[in-house]
Symmetry: D2
Subunit: 162 residues, 4 copies
């Protein structure tokens, strides 16, 4: 069996320091669980912070890069997958994650939430709310919201056992 | 210069009869302007209705299919592009359209709106509202809302001349 | 039914004047048959020459671009599909063509021949030979060789009727 | 710095027992070097054999799957990347590998060799010869041939240090 992968999405250059702290802590907790962290691989915002958290706690990190060159990955990425497919890689992020955690972000992050929901992946919004847009998925139990990294880990456990 | 392409997105099997009528009329008007209509190519919902409207008024229709076989395209598609990339094709829909018109849909449609906004394409929501989610893009003038197909055509003209 | 698409592959910047003349003539003949010409869309080599031939004889041309911007297409492309997926678009070239014609090229062209053969598309090598590499496909009747554009058109007719 | 990735390509269901033995041994040696093995991830032929070799010697294995579901991966794959992009994933295999080793295969494998050469990756043909097709790349020193897994490992070291 291949390993359990938690996708962590969220803003790049636009991420705030608070959101990066949340992502860093989430990365730590994912590593402590022995799970693999997957993100968009770039050295910015939620990607960099979550990978750093995971690495500092001994985790394994996968970066799915938009570009052609694995040298563009964050220094905290162990395995750089160079797709050369731009934002087309957002689809791969969604499909390869067993659960997708979305921290605050803009259109790129929203595309990942949408692609994950479309492809029947559980999605957890950490620290924000996508307003009414995805209401139907919240009602059906596919989309969840949390406010702390600890609560997020508990929810992943519940989801992945069901 | 390659031709002006209007992307028409929206629900597939879940589209209502009212929304399909709106898409059908929009397809007609796009054809009357001499523009090319591009959509997801499947024989369902907004895709089928918009392509049918365009074909019945002499337009040219392009379908960007998720699957490997161009025979799966709607009968109203002239040019079937078989991507074999599943929802990865949503990125191609966004990039290949000069303007993206989004009628009501679910996560697939929202991913196309998000990917279009992320890639600096003007987006027009026809007949619905994505609530507060994309507020920042509405404020910056990249995301618009309309209620009729006629109004949509006028707005496309304004956008594409600016 | 969507229209019959002939994919024309071959070298870009490395194409010789002779090969471009062959591609130009092939484009003319494809247009005269009322078929759609599809290629990689860039303003170089076999792509530019085949699209120019088709346009000058009233044909319809589709360019599947590696980049994100349809303005990078050859001036002889009617419909620019911007994939943003680099050479990942070679797969789309293969899948979207009913028949693939490969003029001389290098690794990019060979990848398109290989992807077309892998996906059960008939392939015609025009003006060159891929040596022993694809022997098995020649024996099974999926891979053919021709020396003139006229002969190529006749072969496409035979293949597409069978 | 992300880890050094060796891509191992070759036939799936069509691979012979001899070629699978070669792939199995190569997987072992890659693991012994502490390198990461990347392949197409399916439970067949060269993919299965090379991943099994690597796993049995404590290596880390990445499978880039054509489908949408990571459960379709070989049991010897640690990290399943589900692309949902069919053979479009062959491009990702090429870009993500620092060196590509190609064992005997058919059109799919040839497409991976071609995409790797096109994107400036060193390629080693292990146990076969692609005849004259890629001659230019052999002359320029980008394409190499070997006959044993041990010789292949030595060559990877030489290439990756230069």
């Amino acid at each position: 069996m291949s390993r359990f992968i938690v996708g962590v999405m969220g803003g790049g250059e636009t991420a705030t320091a608070d959101h990066c702290r949340l992502a860093y802590r989430l990365g730590q907790l994912i590593a402590l669980q022995g799970w693999v962290l997957l993100n968009g691989g770039r050295p910015a915002g939620i990607m960099e912070a979550s990978a750093r958290g995971a690495k500092e706690y001994g985790g394994l990190t996968i970066g799915i890069l938009p570009g052609c060159d694995s040298r563009s990955a964050s220094a905290y990425i162990d395995i750089a997958i160079a797709t050369g497919m731009g934002d087309g890689r957002n689809y791969i992020n969604a499909l390869s994650s067993h659960v997708v955690i979305a921290l605050p972000g803009q259109a790129g992050t929203i595309s990942e939430i949408a692609l994950a929901l479309k492809n029947n992946k559980p999605v957890i919004l950490l620290g924000w709310d996508t307003a009414a847009l995805f209401n139907a998925y919240q009602r059906s139990g596919q989309l969840h919201t949390t406010t702390t990294s600890e609560e997020t880990i508990q929810l992943i456990k519940t989801i992945s056992q069901s």
